[in-house]
Symmetry: C2
Subunit: 460 residues, 2 copies
Amino acid sequence: MSTIQETIHLMGRQARAAAYQLAQLSSEEKNTILRAMAAAIREATPELLEANAKDLAAGKEKGLSSAMLDRLKLDESRIEAMAAGIDQVATLPDPVGQVMEKWTRPNGIEIEQIRVPIGTIGIIYESRPNVTADAAVLCFKTGNATILRGGSEAIHSNVAIAKALGKAGAPEHAIQLIPFTDRESVAALAGMDQWLDLIIPRGGKGLIETVVSLARMPVIKHYDGICHLYADKAADFNMAITLTVNSKTQKCGVCNALETLLIHRDIAEAFLPNVAAALREKNVQLRGCERTISILGGRDRSPQRSGECAENESAQEGLGDPTLGTHSHSILTDRPEVGPCLQVIPATEEDWSTEYLDLILSIKIVDSLEEAVSHINQYGSHHTDTIVTADQAAAEQFLRSVDSACVFHNVSTRFADGGEFGFGAEIGISTDKLHARGPMGLRELTSYQYRVRGNGQVRG
Amino acid sequence: MSTIQETIHLMGRQARAAAYQLAQLSSEEKNTILRAMAAAIREATPELLEANAKDLAAGKEKGLSSAMLDRLKLDESRIEAMAAGIDQVATLPDPVGQVMEKWTRPNGIEIEQIRVPIGTIGIIYESRPNVTADAAVLCFKTGNATILRGGSEAIHSNVAIAKALGKAGAPEHAIQLIPFTDRESVAALAGMDQWLDLIIPRGGKGLIETVVSLARMPVIKHYDGICHLYADKAADFNMAITLTVNSKTQKCGVCNALETLLIHRDIAEAFLPNVAAALREKNVQLRGCERTISILGGRDRSPQRSGECAENESAQEGLGDPTLGTHSHSILTDRPEVGPCLQVIPATEEDWSTEYLDLILSIKIVDSLEEAVSHINQYGSHHTDTIVTADQAAAEQFLRSVDSACVFHNVSTRFADGGEFGFGAEIGISTDKLHARGPMGLRELTSYQYRVRGNGQVRG
């Protein structure tokens, strides 16, 4: 074993021991420590700013973009937001210990299914330092020990945050930060399934892919959101326009933003010009199928500007935000040029499976609800899809047939969010189907255990 | 891509299409098809016997042990049991469509969390042909499409069973059997996470390890059961003896059988001779810690006989049985010689983490309940552990502190079983903590989806 492997395996063993202690803490004890963590973060503000300054200087030297530097940056208000987020987690109900089900068998044995911590969780994330605190406290609240492995750009900030959290009286090794930022440490973490029960990668597709191919333990993935809105033939036009514009533009750099609009052919001629006008007002670039272009008129496909997505690159997202750590930057490599777009670009096959994360929308006219559903199931990412219709039967058919974590009727896709669902906090939005699907709250950071009580029963 | 890969990827694509059809079937439609499957199996009895005869002949030629041949064998009563198992699955409640939770947000959106099929499931299993039917029908009942990959020894039987199931009117490609039995087909299956949502290996540790290292999709593992019984200082001796004997000997070749007995030092002198006598009466070989030997007397460690575990190698286990496909054969390589054992063999470090699956029991005296718990958490397999005590506080401490899927108080370990839990059917006992832990019934073969209904809500 290399030194890095040895260090990380030792951290794994320590995390397991800490997890057994954490599992014994009462909710009150955990909340007291959480409030102490928030206080320690506030108290460490000078140290955090100092450490962050080192990261920022190194980042500038490395030539990081201004958007990257902004994501990396801590200031007093961001540090306060981090602390306030921790205080808020302390107020949330603790899922650990909840009885999920309870029944008695004919032979008299009593069976209880009880929520317990998962145990030990590895979090691998990229540049934003606040993830260090956010992920660690959500895991702590649910009685899990964490091993954090952040990106190299934020290493000084991450170390300082972890150090502050460590002063709050949590069991030793409850929260550990890996001091290495190379790839070998990811491989070591992903390989030690004897010590780590779960790994959550928080970042771009490349990072997730790497973790998936290396990990021996379960991985909860937060892949793309290629979200659809289907305007049914029985759609209320005003509602369909409002929901399309909100889903696409209220915040376009996030995984629950709209990427493709599907329109029933019966309403296309009447509806398309209106929705296109509303979208153009918000500087949304449109990419359409042939029929869309025949209605709206088209132009050649060439580099072209989409409007600025105001919140796209600057958001320092935190616990209250659905997109914690994921998908907050544009994926476009050929950054469009300036100038609003009045014509529709022909959509290519690739457009239907592209998460733009920008003010771009693909539009397709479909012949039926069935075609809309199969388009979504084929090209979508099984994240969030919505139907706009006044026809209840059509709505129910859509909800039943679309294979996505969140299926909506007459609601903006932007509601696919732990906060909006009322979960209080969110670790991400899972695109997996096992264990956790869709918005993940505290409950999804727990496992369960069967506790069975009897009076000497044996099997005959 | 090789031919094998291409074939398996095509099967994956077909399974996905079938899954969308399966998800639309009502419980009644599925149950009708299940009853037709049972009838088709009964009707195909001559073909199944003929195919099985080929496998048996090939197995004899290959020199399979008589135990292996017995596991492979189909006869009329086993075929009838397979069909009856399918009929029984048709009578069970369907978890798909169940509303898990439902709530309304202040903005009026209504959120429903609903059980839906997982989608597509790969099952990789070893010699016993009945798994073909058992696994396929449990997945079918829950609306999942399956791709089955059985062992080479049973290939003719498996093909015949799958063919019979295919005559019952299920959507095309709902149940597919891979016609290859080489390792490349396992790799191809485990690699295609675009088509397969879950993989369940059903067999020995080697098979599970292989799948874990290859799989890109979630794997639900059914590893060893190194189960403990802790006789607390407040244990009722008679109950502790009865439960120890039942847990160890009622069926010793299964994952919920007892492997290690822990005894509180305060009762060791009085309790040990009694429990040892009861175990010896059942021909159980004892391996003890130093203190155990100082009380019972010991002998050198050398090859030695344990009693025959009557049901160890002959059981043709089916849907009603907890150990479907796993752990049904002895792992001992140095098969003990004949003759009952009257002395205790010194236990080595390895004994504490060995799943004997035979009439062998390791015994350790501990100083405290805490030591029992940490021994279990360190050496056990987090499967099933039981405490025998009249002290309620001690029992609750044990249940809270042991990190296992099933923790029992005054109950035989043999109750860790889907049937005994009342699940009706069982796909296995998961030693994982994510998605499914402990006995897995139909519910654990489902995922969920959030269905949200509104009237035009947007995010501000």
